[in-house]
Amino acid sequence: MKVNAAIGQMKPYKGDYKRNLSSLGDLFEQLEEETPYPDILTLPETALSGYFLEGGVRDIAISREELFSDLLKLYRERVSRIDAVLDICLGFYELADGKYYNSALYATLTTTDTDFVKAQIVHVHRKFFLPTYGVFDEKRFVSRGRTIEAFPTRFGMAAVLICEDVWHSISATIAALQGAQTIFVISASPGRDFGGQHVGSVRRWKVLLPSIAEEHNVWVVYAGLVGFEGGKGFTGSSQVIDPWGNCLTTGSVTEECLVCATIEQEDVAIARAASPLLADLESALGDVILQLGKL
């Protein structure tokens, strides 16, 4: 199966949910003009609010149901085709059960529900590793997610990880062991260190993302926030990596853009047949767990 992936590398207006939602509506309209029409749209971490909100998280955070309702309403207002379907994966500050989280929603949007495809919330991932050092202060403002879970989508098993989740290789390993064949990574990564060919944090992503793809033979779809917040610039560089670790396309470091690539799902099996590292891990998993149990 071919899956047309699009990444909306957005530059949100800080704390202005309605305005950012309107920008997303513009993007929905633009997607209608794109050929092929995307099957899945991925947006960065905190795409509709901006990232560094501090105490503003409590002003901006919404429930997953409220976000989904807003997205669906927007999609049906802005998309004219009556049989349009789009999966969407995006980051948001979530309010749930009296707690705030840095979360990612994966949902299916339709202009019209059918017996085969219905608009629905598919999955919510809450950021598992919250950076709280240097410029980051997440633990002060949001609670930590407790699970990493692969989940079924219209296009097979997938998982979502948020920014620092991926800086720990174990997160992607867990997702792959659970069956994810595509890992969506969303981030708000402030750029620092300008001594090399790339901004330092981009250099790190350029190592991390292909490593995940190549080790587990999964597709990696990466959406990076872009734009400056209080002097801190996010590094964009949204990209799609194939199961051999090749980057198919990369977005700008500083500007908004739409990054598109076609995911050939059968490539996962082809890559794994040649390099069965995940199968090796699965067969040794009992001993791995034993070793972890000693910690």
């Binding site: 800080k14 560094f52 105490g55 790339h198 400056f228 610039g233 470091v253 500083t254």
Partner: protein, 287 residues
């Protein structure tokens, strides 16, 4: 005996600039994007005001602003005092001519002397502070007139040394250079095309005739920058000495750094509630 070839990692020398090297093209692109986002997108201003001293910092900022906003949207203001070097004025004009930005000249002598004649006992430091604060009054007022903001030019080295007038040089709301050491400012200035006569001249606040930054510090910028880099990374003074940095220079730099933390913060406010601003009530600057 068959000996294996030895491939030994070399230590970084104390006089190496390797950690201060920047990718100028990348940095230039980043700072232009920063200025566009922070001035235009976030704050909604089309124009910007910058004080042109004729030095390398303000010259670089003028080049960056011209690239970010278009030269027609940048107003460089020369603000000489009667003792200011004529080179400073000439070099500022060089920058305006080269970039195509607008340039104005507003003398500060009458304003400064109007106050200082009431303070005949004012020493050089006080006089310098009055000049710096007068310049900032002008930059903010001219910005108000134009409906825009002034852009700062202070670099990381002078910020870490506390070598600026508090709530004067450091007060513009946007500053592209504040996280660049002076050595890096020189590199980037050369890259964007700031005249060699500006880049290569000794840095000076030009508050006193013949004054230079480095003579005020007692250490050159390149040496200070290398030491600051490691101190901020978290290395101890003892480790820097082990690496080959002279003890006297490490001590000098560390003393300046440790004695000026207050200058890099807002005023100390008595906290009296659990909604104390910036203690409990936390909202980012651009929220």
């Amino acid at each position: 005996m068959n000996r294996l070839p030895v491939l030994r990692a070399t230590s970084i020398e104390a006089d190496s600039d390797i950690n201060l090297e920047v990718n100028e093209a990348l940095l230039n692109e980043w700072l232009i994007a920063f200025l566009r986002d922070e001035i235009t997108r976030r704050r909604g201003f089309k124009q910007a005001v910058v004080g042109l001293s004729g030095g390398v910092d303000s010259s670089l900022v003028a080049y960056l602003l011209a690239a970010a906003l278009g030269p027609e949207n940048v107003i460089g203001i020369r603000m000489p005092y009667k003792s200011s070097s004529s080179d400073s004025l000439d070099h500022a004009k060089l920058v305006a001519d080269a970039t195509g930005i607008n340039m104005e000249t507003i003398e500060i002598t009458d304003a400064v002397d109007g106050y200082l004649k009431l303070c005949q006992d004012a020493d050089g430091r006080r006089r310098g502070n009055v000049m710096a604060r007068t310049r900032m009054i002008i930059l903010f007022d001219q910005s108000q007139k134009l409906g825009t903001i002034p852009v700062g030019t202070g670099n990381k080295t002078e910020r870490l040394f506390g070598y600026f007038t508090w709530h004067a040089d450091d007060s513009p709301p946007v500053n592209p250079l504040g996280d660049l050491y002076k050595s890096q400012v020189w590199d980037l200035a050369s890259y964007v095309g700031v005249s060699e006569v500006i880049v290569n001249k000794p840095a000076s606040a030009d508050l006193v005739v013949g004054q230079t930054d480095e003579s005020d510090f007692g250490i050159s910028y390149p040496k200070a920058d290398r030491i600051l880099f490691y101190l901020l990374r978290g290395y101890s003074a003892a480790r820097l000495c082990e690496m080959g940095f002279p003890d006297s220079e490490v001590t000098l730099v560390k003393k300046r750094l440790d004695s000026t933390h207050w200058k890099r913060h807002l005023p100390t406010t008595a906290m009296l509630s659990s909604t104390s601003i910036n203690d409990y009530y936390l909202r980012p600057v651009d929220y």
